[in-house]
C-alpha cells in the first residue's frame, strides 16, 4: 500500500505544471551562466586570479568544466531550496486547498503512511532536481569547457584539485547537498501540515531559511551557541568535499545536524498530521 501510494504521489507531482518550473529555471540559469562564461570567462578568471599572479604562475586550462560546475553549484544552491519548497510545501496543504484531502484521508490507509508516501515522493523529486542541476553543471559544463584541474578559492586560500581526483568529490558534495535540500523539503512538508493553503508553507519555509541564515551570519556573541545547530549553517557543507585535506569531522557534524533536523521536522509533521481535524 505504501509503495502504491508513493506511486500515486509521484503521478500527482509529475502532472503538476509547477513541478516543471524548477527544471525550467535550472536549465535557464545554468544556460545563462555557461553562456556568460563562454563569452566573458577569461576576464572573470583573470579577475579572480589577479591577486595570486604575483606569487603563482598558472599553467594549463583553468577555465574548465570542473570549475564551471563548481561555480554553478555555488551560485544555484541558494536558489534551489525555493524551487524545492515550491513543490514540497504544497504536498499536504495543496490537498487541503483542493479539497482532495477529505477523499484521501477517508481511505483505509493510515495518515502516517499517507504523509510518508508524500514525503518519499517529495524527496525523490528533490533528488531529481539536484540530479538535473548536477547533469547541467558537470556533464554540460565538461562538454562545453572540457576537463581539467579544479582551482577552488576558500577561506584558507587556494586549493588545486587534480582532474583525476574530482569525480568522488562531486558525488560526495551532491550527497551532502541532497541532505541539505532534504532538510528544506522536510521543513516545508512539516509547515504544509499546519496550513490549508499552498502559499503559506512555501513563504514560511523561505522565511525560516532567511531568518536562520541571518542569525548564522550575524557576528554577535549571543548567537554563538546556537549557530552550530542551525541547519542553514550546514547547507553549504558540500563545499567541504573540495577542501584539502578533507575535513571529515566537520562533514560528520553537518550530517548529524542535518539528520537531526530531518528527524525533528518529520516527527512534528507526523504527530500533527495524525491529530489534525480535517475541516477543509
Amino acid at each position: 500500500m505504501f509503495l502504491k501510494n508513493t506511486y500515486n504521489e509521484f503521478i500527482k507531482i509529475a502532472a503538476k505544471p509547477r513541478s516543471y518550473i524548477s527544471i525550467a529555471a535550472i536549465t535557464v540559469l545554468v544556460g545563462i551562466i555557461l553562456f556568460a562564461m563562454k563569452i566573458d570567462g577569461p576576464a572573470y578568471i583573470s579577475f579572480i586570479t589577479a591577486s595570486f599572479e604575483q606569487t603563482l604562475n598558472f599553467e594549463g586550462k583553468i577555465m574548465n568544466g570542473n570549475l564551471m560546475a563548481f561555480i554553478i553549484l555555488q551560485m544555484l544552491i541558494v536558489q534551489i531550496p525555493l524551487l524545492v519548497a515550491l513543490v514540497t510545501g504544497d504536498l499536504i496543504s495543496g490537498e487541503a486547498a483542493m479539497g482532495t484531502i477529505r477523499m484521501l484521508l477517508s481511505k483505509p490507509i493510515s495518515r502516517t503512511k499517507v504523509l510518508l508516501s508524500k514525503y518519499t515522493a517529495g524527496l525523490l523529486y528533490t533528488f531529481f532536481i539536484l540530479l538535473w542541476m548536477g547533469f547541467m553543471a558537470v556533464i554540460v559544463g565538461r562538454w562545453l569547457f572540457g576537463d581539467g584541474d579544479l582551482m577552488v578559492l576558500n577561506s584558507d586560500g587556494l586549493v588545486i584539485i587534480p582532474a583525476n581526483d574530482i569525480a568522488w568529490r562531486f558525488i560526495g558534495g551532491f550527497m551532502i547537498a541532497f541532505l541539505a535540500l532534504a532538510t528544506v523539503a522536510t521543513l516545508s512538508i512539516m509547515l504544509s501540515c499546519f496550513s490549508d493553503n499552498s502559499i503559506g508553507p512555501i513563504v514560511s519555509t523561505m522565511s525560516v531559511i532567511i531568518l536562520f541564515t541571518i542569525i548564522g551570519t550575524l557576528d554577535v556573541p549571543v548567537f554563538d551557541n546556537i549557530r552550530p545547530f542551525l541547519f542553514t549553517t550546514h547547507m553549504a557543507a558540500w563545499r567541504s568535499f573540495f577542501d584539502n585535506p578533507l575535513p571529515i569531522q566537520a562533514i560528520k557534524e553537518s550530517v548529524i545536524i542535518l539528520f537531526a533536523h530531518i528527524g525533528i521536522f518529520l516527527s512534528i509533521a507526523i504527530y500533527h498530521f495524525n491529530k489534525k481535524d480535517i475541516l477543509s
Partner: protein, 300 residues
Amino acid sequence: MESSIISISHLAKNYGSFQAVKDVNITVNKGDVYGILGPNGAGKSTTIRCMLSLINASAGSISLFGHDIKTHRKEALSKIGCIVEKPDFYKYLSAETNLAIFGRMAGADVSKKNLHKMLSFVGLEGREKDKVNGFSHGMKQRLGIAQTLLHNPDLIILDEPTTGLDPQGIIDIRNLILNLKNEFQKTIVLSSHILSEIELIANRMVIINKGITVVEGSVQALLNQEELLVLFEVTDSKAAVNSLTTYKNIHIIDPHHFEITISKNEIPECITRLQKADILVYGVETKRKLEDYFLKLTKA
C-alpha cells in the same frame, strides 16, 4: 434480525467552547438507505466526518461493521466508499487517473477495464481521458460516486449528494443512488438539505438539530405518526363534508375540493364513506410531508 453496521453512541465534538455535536445517536442496519436530516449547522457533516475519522470525536463511540473507528480505522474504512461535502478531484488529471489514484488507496482493482466499467455505470463513458478541470458539478458528483464504488464497499456515505445540481442532475443522482441500493444491494447513508430527497430515497432516517439527535426511525413510521393535510377532489364538496361530520378539521375550498386533517390510516375510511354517500372521488393529495414534520421538530 437486522444487523447494525453503523452504531454511533452519544457522539460529541467540541471546538474550544463551541459544541458542534452534543449527543448524536445513530444506528444504521445492513441494507438501509439512511437519511441524516438537519438544518444548516445542525452537525450532520461533523457527524459524517467523525464517522470517517476525518475529525476526532471529543466523546462518544463510533462503531463501523463492529470495529471501533479509533482503534480499527483501517478495517472499518476498507468497507466504506464516501463523498464528503463535495467531490473534489485533481483537476489537472483525467477522470481515469483520478479514479486509479483513489482506487489504489482503497486496494481496488484499477485495471482500465474496471475503471471504464465504473465510469460507464455513472454515465461518464467516453470522458475517461478528459481532465476533471472541464467537468461540471454534476459530472464530478457522478465521478465521485464511481470513486466510492471502485473497491466494492458494503457501505456508501454521501454527504449532501444533490447540493448544487440542476433539476436533471438531482434526478440522475437520485436514480444512481436507487440503483446502488437495488442492483448492488449497498447500504447507503446520505445527508441532504432537500428533505423530499430523503423521503423519496430513504427507508430510515435521523433528524439532528443543534448537535442532538431529535428523532430516529423508519421514514414511513415517523411520517405515519403525523396527521396529514389531505386535499380531496370530489363531485360535490358540500355533500362530502356533510358525510364526514365526525371529522373536525375539515373545510371546503371550492364546490369540488375540500381539505381535511387526518392520519394516513384514516384516508381509506374517508374514501369508503364518501363512496357510500354516492360522492365520486377524483383525486386525493396528501399535502403534509417530511418538510412539515422536520420543521416542527427542529423548531420545537
